[in-house]
């Protein structure tokens, strides 16, 4: 299957290893992956700060880079949701096509590839951080608020990983406090929320925290390194890609 890889700008710049893992994982699952080279940012940082009217050039660039005819796969629920909800401008039918085809990495693997196994091994105790936009926006997993059946697409994939001991913190889907621009405009609150989240992972005695959005993990990593907590963060793609290196 042909796939176009959409890499969030901050992953491209700060976490190339996450993008590499996403690329290799998709390839190992039989996808023919193309990375459109002129892609930049989806425009979310401006839009969520109230400047959606400044995202014209980002939108245009996105539409120029992605065909909309094959699936656009992104290792971020948040950026995927932004494209789905807020991509506008230019050729409406192409935009409609892009919105329809853009998917977060784990939902693409569970819902489109429908794999029955992933050959990965990660013999560690891992805490799962639920990222809000993927969960409540894209419905990657059920939420604690809604009265309905429990499900989790990321967990469905992590269950394939040999040796992994997957645990969830208390208040399973409480926000970690990253929130885009919020992490600097509400610095004190953002840090407090992150610290409280980390406290719950520390109590679980996990070696790693994983999740579907590197932005939330970057926020926690910043706190982990400053406070020298004995935890590392890894994107879900890195764990799913472990035995393939």
């Amino acid at each position: 299957m042909k796939v176009e890889l959409f890499i969030p700008c901050y992953v491209d710049q700060f976490y190339p290893k996450v993008a590499i893992a996403s690329l290799q994982l998709l390839q190992s699952l039989g996808c023919e992956v193309d990375f459109p080279l002129q892609q930049t940012c989806c425009g979310q940082p401006m839009a969520n700060s109230g400047y959606n009217h400044f995202t014209e050039s980002c939108n245009k660039n996105f539409v120029d880079n992605f065909s909309g005819n094959s699936f656009i796969v992104c290792p971020s629920g948040s950026c995927t949701l932004h494209i789905k909800e807020h991509l506008t401008g230019g050729d409406e039918s192409k935009i409609e096509n892009i919105r329809k085809h853009v998917m977060e990495l784990s939902e693409f693997i569970t819902d489109v590839l429908k794999v029955s196994n992933i050959n990965a091994g990660f013999p560690h105790r891992v805490g799962y951080l639920t990222s809000c936009h993927g969960q409540r926006g894209l419905h990657l997993s059920s939420t604690s608020e809604i009265n309905g059946p429990r499900f989790s697409k990321p967990e469905q994939l992590l269950r394939f990983v040999k040796g992994i001991e997957l645990v969830y913190p208390q208040r399973v889907d409480d926000c970690c406090g990253f929130g885009g621009g919020f992490c600097v405009t509400e610095e004190a609150l953002s840090v407090k929320m992150g610290q409280d989240r980390l406290k719950q992972f520390l109590e679980l005695d996990v070696e790693f925290i994983t999740g579907n959005d590197m932005s939330c993990l970057m926020h926690l990593e910043g706190l982990i390194q400053r406070n020298k907590y004995p935890i590392k963060v890894l994107h879900i793609a890195e764990i799913l890609n472990t035995s393939l290196k």
Binding site: C9, H53, C132, E187
Partner: protein, 457 residues
């Protein structure tokens, strides 16, 4: 006066870590009770949908239902008043009291009267107002505003209440026993109930087909006030109307479960008509609600039934406290209602959110609160309520991120600076991220660089 900022207020609140944790845990406990109550009802999500549909329908026919309510209420012997704004509302209430030669009023919980600043107005005009909801009475003594619409004194610990009661009710100093303090409040409030000739209540639901109102309290204070007074004044926003009495079977089941996890509020009192020889007034208030009604993006915020489930679930609310919002209705719903009342004063509130969406998921009438927060951000920014420096920074950022050339160049330069001159970035004075968090490690090459080098053609 300097405009208040939620972020500054939040930072001050958080400075007391132990108290912040206590506040957070207390409200999370309420949220957990709500979950249990909601998850025990198999039809919960269907109930939410029904409530949402009824409210949508009602907002689309508000004029019809309000007039129907007025007609039926009048036929029941209720005197109906219409107030265009807060000032008119306050004047109407004052005139009713003044004409009767009364100088004291007991009032059960009404966020609308908080919004209209009725207490200040009446007290300025020589009428004593006694709030009879226990939490509201506590904050009234302390000259504070409610920090939560259902739990007005949730920001206070029992030690705080004890100190306040010692000062105003002369209870024993340092006696923090809740039972002792509640009994003191009870004696104090009973006296006011029996000596007040006018009682004001809020309105949870006004039923168009019957012309009656429903008031929900856990303390029975609305009933005690109304039944011992000669005059009952009920203040309601125009959005409190519901078409039929049987719709209460949907809303009353949702309200208490969403608010506190109770199956039903302790007292759901139906007021249909004045008692013989007594007066009953209903004041129907607009105060810019029709302005919100005319905004397709924000109209549905008027569906709110004031359960405060969105407060209790919101990590921002739990960890920054209601007063950080510097508005009558705090929390996520307040952040989409308040800018309609005053854009300049409340321009910061839609940004006091991570857009996590939990508020929309707990909302019993399915208001898409987090989407409206996003839309308010756009509107406020476009209309010039954002700090100019932020606009400039965002413009610059948009130019870089929108251009592959500038993006790649800035990425390279930025990562080079972070690796080679880290103190330019790692500075607590101009980088808020770095104050309490380390920066991510800057790799030598971006993914794009790696991809170009390693791509198998």
């Amino acid at each position: 006066m300097m405009q208040q900022q939620h972020s500054d207020n939040a930072a001050k609140f958080i400075a007391d870590d132990a108290r912040t944790n206590w506040h957070d845990e207390t409200l999370w406990f309420v949220r957990a009770k709500r979950d249990k109550a909601a998850h025990n009802l198999p039809e919960w999500e269907a109930l939410r949908q029904a409530a949402s549909d009824i409210k949508d329908h009602t907002l689309n026919h508000l004029d019809t239902y309000l007039l129907e309510f007025e007609e039926k209420a009048k036929a029941n012997g209720i005197i109906v008043h219409w107030a265009f704004d807060a000032d008119e509302h306050n004047q109407i209430v004052y005139d009713i009291i003044h004409q009767s030669g009364i100088t004291k009023m007991v009032k059960s919980k009404s966020m609308l009267t908080e919004e209209c600043k009725l207490n200040e107005f009446l007290q300025h005009n020589g009428v004593e107002v006694v709030d009879t909801d226990l939490g509201e009475r506590i904050v009234q003594f302390r000259n504070e505003t409610p920090s939560h619409i259902v739990l007005p004194a949730i920001h206070l610990k029992k030690e705080d209440v004890s100190a306040t009661f010692h000062e105003f009710l002369h209870t024993e100093k340092g006696n923090n026993d809740p039972l002792y303090l509640t009994r003191a409040a009870r004696v104090h409030l009973r006296n006011h109930f029996f000596t007040s000739e006018v009682a004001l209540t809020g309105v949870n639901f006004a039923v168009a087909e019957t012309g009656s109102i429903v008031v929900c309290t856990n303390e029975g204070n609305a009933d005690l006030g109304v039944h011992s007074a000669r005059i009952h004044i009920a203040s309601m926003g125009i959005e409190k109307i519901i078409p039929k009495a049987n719709h209460l079977s949907v809303f009353l089941r949702l309200l208490a479960r969403s608010a506190t996890g109770q199956p039903v509020t302790t007292y759901n009192s139906h007021f249909n008509r004045p008692q013989p020889g007594k007066e009953m007034h209903v004041v129907i208030v607009n105060n810019k609600r029709t302005q919100q009604l005319a905004e397709p993006d924000f109209k549905s915020s008027l569906k709110c039934i004031r359960c405060a489930a969105c407060f209790n679930t919101c990590p921002i609310y739990r960890k920054s406290g209601g007063h950080s919002y510097h508005t009558t209705v705090a929390g996520p719903i307040g952040s989409i209602l308040s800018p309609n009342l005053d854009k300049k004063q409340h321009a910061d509130l839609p940004f006091a959110s991570t857009l996590c969406g939990s508020c929309s998921n707990v909302c019993p009438v399915k208001i898409d609160i987090h989407n409206q927060l996003w839309k308010w951000r756009q509107l406020l920014t476009k209309e010039g309520y954002a700090p100019p420096a932020k606009t400039l920074a965002m413009k610059g950022m948009a130019n870089v991120l929108g251009s592959p050339f500038l993006y790649n160049l800035s990425g390279k330069v930025g990562r080079w600076v972070m690796r080679n001159i880290p103190f330019l970035v790692n500075n607590k004075n101009w980088n808020p991220w770095f104050k309490q968090r380390d920066m991510p490690k800057a790799p030598e090459q971006s993914f794009r660089d790696w991809y170009i080098k390693n791509k198998k053609s």
